[in-house]
Symmetry: C2
Subunit: 258 residues, 2 copies
């Protein structure tokens, strides 16, 4: 009896869970979608070597075309669908899952370590004090959507922290970094001139969260615009109101050097 | 050289990551804090057997008293501090971490699978459409704080989903379940009479998320008040506005039977 197993690999190779290892070992076919995620320190070729399994990498996940073939394969064999972070972060994954279930294919999700809780934990901010998550995107021509800035503003006005994920495109090897993000937010702040976020607003730049070479820096946005935190993946946190243990944490990252 | 390693064990035994396994194996001392978390299907005694290490269980984490001893131990040896879910969810853990760092002790966090992303993923709702997380608590006498209800109301008004965690006390083996939570929200809805949440509001009850015997049920709050989803841990999601793939997911859980 076949099944379709969605597996989150986490943030780095050693985040692999026992359940993920067993699922991958037992699979008849292993496919992976790393279009919008990446394991820190590992490219797709290395992933197959590391897992000791042939892995077929899907380019931009085409649910209409690839999805049908995966569902057919999962009717007769075990198909593992790998992603970075926790599983099911993309709308297309959910779409594939419920289409498979409608087609009578059993599905399963094996969860992995996610940047959502890891970034908060590493920085030392409380998970229940975060508002909505948002993602900053690389500008396409002159167009830059304002919606991520609105999310952060809205969180700030409620005293909540914002986790800001940064756009990446693994096919073209383009990764938005903390200084890109900070500069974009400074531009927004200057354009919209809202007291809730200014160029002097304190932010926390995070690079390679959860890895031994992780770097975290707390500084005003204007300063983060000139920061070099090294290789991707990066993300940014804009803190809201701070509890006193959170104040201690931010103070630590303000003075931390690498 | 010593260090203090915070290790998140995830939601179930097979969520153990390679990094966690290696840290636990290399530790001189393993302590655990399961006062406000629990691995599904395992009690503290079984955890020590499973990890094949002696584990000292801290009762209500007393940072003032136990914290100093842990920091002293971590000056000369490797101390692993285990929790359920991802690490660093409690304020006291963060406090201990930054106190250890101030005392010159190197600290490390090994992340685990968290209910925060797992519940959203299993139900099929998008992580970036969640507002602030909240926790419902068991009533102490006549007092019932309204703040969790306000968090959900505020999320609903913005069209955002709410993840509602449920109070537990592992020492007394008391766990709040989906029907308890649903009844509490119905009482709040009737008391405060706000159109954003009524007894008819659709909610999603989740039990043992990520485990093979997981149960998920989507129904109006009044119906969830009479639902039997089995053993803990439970949590609840109150959806906001639904994307069409999210509509498909909710429709699936409405008709799912166990």
């Amino acid at each position: 009896m076949g099944r379709l197993i969605f597996v989150g690999l986490g943030l780095r190779p050693t985040d692999l869970t026992q359940a993920a290892r067993e699922a991958i070992d037992s699979a008849d076919e292993v496919v992976a979608e790393f279009y919008t995620s990446k394991l820190v320190g590992m490219d797709p070729k290395q992933i197959a070597q590391w897992l000791e399994r042939p892995v077929r990498f899907l380019r931009r996940m085409n649910v209409e075309e690839e999805g049908e073939a995966l569902i057919e394969a999962a009717k007769v064999g075990v198909v593992c669908f790998l992603t970075g972070g926790d599983a099911m972060t993309a709308t297309t994954h959910n779409d594939l899952r419920f289409r498979a279930q409608k087609a009578g294919v059993e599905t399963e999700i094996i969860h992995g370590v996610s940047i959502v809780t890891a970034a908060a934990g590493q920085v030392g901010l409380q998970a229940y004090k975060f508002g909505r998550i948002t993602t900053l995107v690389m500008p396409h021509g002159d167009y830059l959507p304002k919606s991520p800035f609105d999310v952060i503003l809205n969180n700030r006005r409620q005293g909540l922290h914002s986790l800001v994920l940064l756009d990446l495109d693994t096919e073209t090897e383009r990764f938005m970094l903390v200084p890109d993000a900070a500069k974009q937010l400074v531009t927004f702040a200057r354009t919209w001139n809202d007291p809730a976020i200014t160029p002097e607003t304190l932010a926390v730049g995070c690079a390679r969260v959860g890895n031994p070479d992780q770097q975290i820096m707390a500084a005003p946005l204007v300063e983060l615009g000139a920061a070099d935190l090294g290789d991707p993946l990066h993300c940014l946190i804009i803190p809201g109101e701070l509890h006193f243990t959170e104040e201690d944490a931010i103070a630590y990252w303000k003075q931390k050097t690498y």
